[in-house]
Amino acid sequence: MSLVNLTINGKAVSVPSGTKILEAAKKVNVKIPNLCHLHMDEINMVNQCASCRVCMVSAGRGLVPACGTNVKEGMVVQTNTPQALKARKTVVELLLSDHPKDCLSCDKNGSCELQAIAADLGIREVRFSGEHSTSPTDYSSKSIIKDNDKCILCRRCETMCNEVQTVGVLSGVNRGFNTEVGTFFNADMADTECTFCGQCISVCPTGALTEVNNIPKVWDALNQTEKTVVVQVAPAVRVAIGEEFGLEPGAISTGKMVAALRAIGFKYVFDTNFAADLTILEEASEFIHRLKEGKNLPILTSCCPAWINFIEGNYPDLLNLPSSCKSPQEMFGSIAKNYFGPKVINTDPKDMYVISIMPCVAKKYEASRSELGQGDSLDVDISITTRELAKMIKEAGIDLVNLEEESFDSPLGDSTGAADIFGATGGVLEAALRTAYEWVTDSELENVEFTQVRGMEGIKEASIDIAGTIVNVCATSSLGNARKIMDEVKAGNSKYHIVEVMACPGGCVAGGGQPYHHGDYDIVKKRAAGLYNIDSSKQLRKSHKNPAILALYKEFLGEPYGETAHKLLHTHYFDKSNVYDVVEECSCSKEAEASAE
């Protein structure tokens, strides 16, 4: 590719043709504010609408948007001419003139890109005022709050939901001043095909899309002294929570996090990892079972609730394929309430609260699914995100960075390295292979690292020889990639035996409840690397070698994939393909009645 030479604020730079001014400016460390633009090459997300107009710079005769303008040979770019500064300021003033400016009580306070730009540009007054485009905030779902009043129409969410996730819940609707990002006939999010993957949240620059705030519920639970509050933490949380406290992305903060949780007041601080190991035992058994029968293949992993929503909505005739295993969050809840409570600490499940800390907003929804529990008692009572935990720690005035490290409680806090890698795409598959291999071949697996299925690639595949049988496996992340695989499966063209699906591109490390990465996927990569580091530093790296798990089976569950396991650890799925098919109430029968009278 040919190189183009230009100057930006007097600094010479050469970049490949087709580069945008914004990117070229980064090379010479010139910062140009931007709001709508978002490129994440790792996951093929390109939001190039050039619509916010806060990145205007002077080039040649007039102003151009840096994010949408190709560099040209000999171009002279000035990012700080009075004209450019004024234009940017005015544009931000305009955005603010149609914005609630509720920063102090906004979920996004402190991590809002609009707020930051307003501060950086030195906005001290908003000269324009007038009508606001408003619509009621959508609190309908368990996972996502959609507050269109705070939306700046960057359309990042729309691109994410349509192009990357291919779910298509969101679209620009109406036009002109009334334009908003909306759903089909403005249906509540809870009544749409939304999978609650939360990826729209993770790209939204403002507080227009946020998670449902469950923090008050957690404080409330902690306040009820008659209840036993048990907390579990998902693997991806421990390598991301530190970011909220100034630590490097990927920094392993397990010990400090556990200490913080105790300081907050949780009685038992447990690890979802324990349940991840348990999941592997169940899922590997189920796989071996299906492989032997040669039926219901490929087996599809079921630990990601957004993915489960996706398959229920889009492939209702393939619901025989996902593993019937509950997700680790739910398995944990079930074991906590049905084993740990009654059998270990002599507590009735009714007197227990199981709280989960997840990188995920779909987990909030999952926790509310009525079939995931025994009777009235749900397996998990409250789920909060990594971000919410960070807020609680701050709220409680805990200095996370300087805490002494502590360990999880036993036994539901014990896990192997196989569980840690659940948080990165390919991890579940790798963990399952470690166990399935040893079980089928009855020999020890020397090299436990299946590097073919690691990394940010959206679809990764490998063929593994297990006792003479070639097992074709695939790990895929993002729902768009899942759709590709599923279309093949549906058409009968798939060669796979096992497919791992994670809804978030990159896996839970990039979950919708994680600290905001603001489009920098290096952050996500570092988190994943953190998880692999934990794994490789652990003694035990195979789920079926977890002594606590083995004890659990021995004392309580019996056989993996056995009867008790089925009752407590497995679930079933529903056809959700007709979310919008409303059967309207029949009015003619009423009319007929009326006329008969």
């Binding site: 619509s51 948007p65 305009l94 149609d98 324009f128 007038g130 036009r175």
Partner: protein, 626 residues
């Protein structure tokens, strides 16, 4: 209809068909034995029942047994819609105005049978002291006009391809595909200097060339017939009156750039134009001048209609393409040009209807003939929809370089009711206002933009002293705010704020700071909006601010609307009709009405709240707003 299988075949047919049209071109004693009666079937005239006129004329002719002596033809808009319905009788070339269906009998009896002109239906030319004139070339409305794009409108029957062919139709296409290389065609168009008539004035030949230079692949020719400017109907008239010229030009363009597919993106609100296009496409296909193996060559070209759905912004090229693709009509950044990646990501050449309508004439008569009209900067002619406060409202086509004064006062016949000229607004919602001081500006792309207006698509609105310029700016902004696609911040929010400021000013709530903010905001919107709609939306504001600042000042400082248009700025005044009943002074909340019983009362307007209570309580209608 037989398929025309070669260029020679076409030429022969054309020469056979020509005599039928001769009637309309030459008047001789000999050809007076038969008359052609042309009735306007444009939207204006057909909405005043011109179709019924055709019916009645036909039946009267039949009744009188004059079938061999007269034939009735439907035709396109003559441009003089204000005086429609228009009926023109050839070969003696008599121009009847405001004809009613019941006039058919008299026309047939008097004109056809007795060779006597129906005086009562003639136009009274104001420039000649309202003398009745027979021929259109005696009318000042037509004197300064030169018809290139509109050459066939009001001249041929748009629903009959033979008439088009008889008037040199499809000869240009035949010549191109049989005798010229695509390069030759492009050089000829380039040499003509034709600039796009859709608004931006981009050189057409250059556009064709750059589309032709992309590697061979599926390419598209698109005709922009979205014409959404409120108050403009040039393109519609061309399509209604001469659809084949556009089809022919699109095929020529297809040949030049290497495309076999054309789309016409047309407003769904133009039913007549759509109908005529459908008829024309069917006839052209049947005749072998459209479709596969045109005129026996291996050149194929097919045209499909695509309908807009009520969004002005879809006239913008990239939005238009999104709309054809079935998406929301939001424009995109022009990071790459449509001639490289346009419709369906394929090279696409987009031109306006009027631009296309010029093409066959250019290729038939040559580039130098074409640029003998107009100026160096802007060769050729331009069609305008002249409207507002002028005597002769209608469609006019003049050589570029004609001055505004000539258009308003000569062609337009000046301002009605002896009012005073105030401004001309050109370019519709994207354009600006031109004040009396610039009336002698020649109309071409460069001159118009140098005085803060623009050619736009050709709306030309004349305003008199009863029009408030602030109110006019507000009117246009209301339009752009309603039509903004909502994609980018400056246009979505900025234009809304501009409108709110203008509304505030018109409501008498403005202050001087508002004028500063208005200008500042307008300038920023202009420089930061994503597409032409947003960029040009502030033009009406900026140009009125420049030329009519005093009117703005009057609104904010004295809270007065000099033109008396802004309702909230009017004063309540008691007229001589007052009987002194004292009712009003009793209801006035601030007690600013004084007067003795049975005597005329007076309002102290410095205290008046403009609540209107007095007015609605006066039984004698003695209180008015002024």
């Amino acid at each position: 209809m037989n398929k025309i299988v070669s260029f020679d075949n076409l030429k022969k047919l054309a020469s056979e068909l020509k005599p039928a049209l001769e009637l309309r071109e030459h008047f001789t004693k000999e050809n007076l034995v038969k008359r052609d009666i042309l009735v306007c079937g444009g939207t204006g005239c057909s909405s005043s029942d011109s179709m019924q006129i055709i019916e009645n004329l036909k039946s009267e002719i039949k009744k009188a047994g004059l079938e061999d002596h007269a034939e009735v033809q439907l035709t396109g808009c003559f441009g003089f819609c204000a005086k429609g319905p228009i009926v023109k009788v050839y070969p003696d070339n008599v121009f009847y105005v405001q004809v009613k269906p019941e006039d058919a009998e008299e026309i047939v009896q008097e004109h056809i049978l007795n060779h006597r002109v129906v005086e009562r239906l003639l136009f009274e030319e104001p420039a000649l002291d309202n003398k009745k004139v027979e021929r259109h070339d005696e009318m000042s409305f037509y004197k300064k006009q030169s018809r290139v794009a509109l050459r066939n409108c009001g001249h041929i029957n748009p629903e009959n391809i033979d008439e088009y062919i008889g008037n040199d139709g499809y000869l240009a296409l035949g010549k191109c595909i049989s005798e010229m290389s695509p390069k030759d065609v492009i050089s000829e168009v380039k040499a003509s200097g034709l600039r796009g008539r859709g608004g931006a004035g981009f050189p057409t030949g250059v556009k064709w060339e750059s589309t032709s230079q992309t590697p061979p692949c599926q390419k598209y020719v698109v005709c922009n017939a979205d014409e959404g400017d409120p108050g403009a109907f040039m393109d519609r008239s061309v399509l209604e009156g001469d659809p084949h010229s556009v089809l022919e030009a699109m095929a020529i363009c297809g040949y030049a750039i290497g495309s076999d597919t054309g789309y016409i993106y047309i407003r769904a609100e133009y039913p007549l134009a759509i109908e005529r296009l459908k008829v024309a496409i069917a006839q052209a296909q049947e005749s072998g001048v459209l479709g596969n193996n045109i005129l026996g060559t291996d050149f194929n070209f097919n045209i499909e209609l695509k309908y807009g759905a009520g969004a002005f912004v879809c006239g913008e090229g990239t939005a238009l393409m999104h709309s054809i693709e079935g998406k929301r009509g939001e424009p995109r950044m022009k990071t790459y040009s449509s001639s490289k990646r346009g419709l369906w990501q394929s090279p696409t050449c987009l031109n306006n209807v009027e631009t296309f309508a010029n093409i066959p004439a250019i290729l038939n008569k040559g580039a130098s003939w074409f640029n003998s009209y107009g100026t160096e900067d802007s060769p050729g002619t331009k069609v305008f929809a002249l409207g507002g406060k002028v005597n002769n409202v209608g469609l006019v086509e003049v050589p570029m370089g004609t001055t505004l004064r000539e258009i308003v006062y000569e062609i337009g016949g000046g301002i009605p009711d002896n009012r005073e000229f105030k401004a001309v607004q050109t370019g519709g919602p994207s354009g600006g206002c031109i004040s009396a001081k610039n009336l002698d500006t020649p109309i071409d792309f460069k001159s118009l933009s140098s005085i803060g207006s623009m050619m736009g698509s050709g709306g030309m609105l004349v305003l008199d002293d009863s029009d408030c310029m602030v109110n006019i700016a507000k009117f246009f902004l209301e339009f752009t705010v309603e039509e903004s696609c909502g994609k980018c911040t400056p246009c979505r929010i900025g234009n809304k704020r501009l409108l709110e400021l203008l509304t505030k000013i018109c409501d008498g709530k403005g202050c001087e700071q508002d004028l500063v903010d208005l200008k500042d905001l307008a300038t920023t919107i202009k420089t930061t909006s994503l597409c032409g709609l947003g960029k040009c939306a502030p033009n009406p504001v900026l140009s009125t601010l420049e030329y009519f600042y005093d009117e703005y000042e009057a609104h904010v400082k004295e809270k007065k609307c000099p033109a008396g248009k802004c309702q909230s700025l009017l004063d309540y005044v008691i007229t001589d009709a007052c009987k002194g009943c004292t009712k009003c002074s009793k209801v006035c909340p601030v007690g600013c009405i004084t007067g003795k019983p049975k005597e005329k009362h007076v309002i102290d307007s410095s205290k008046c709240l403009k609540c209107g209570a007095c007015m609605s309580n006066c039984k004698f209608n003695a209180i008015i707003k002024k």
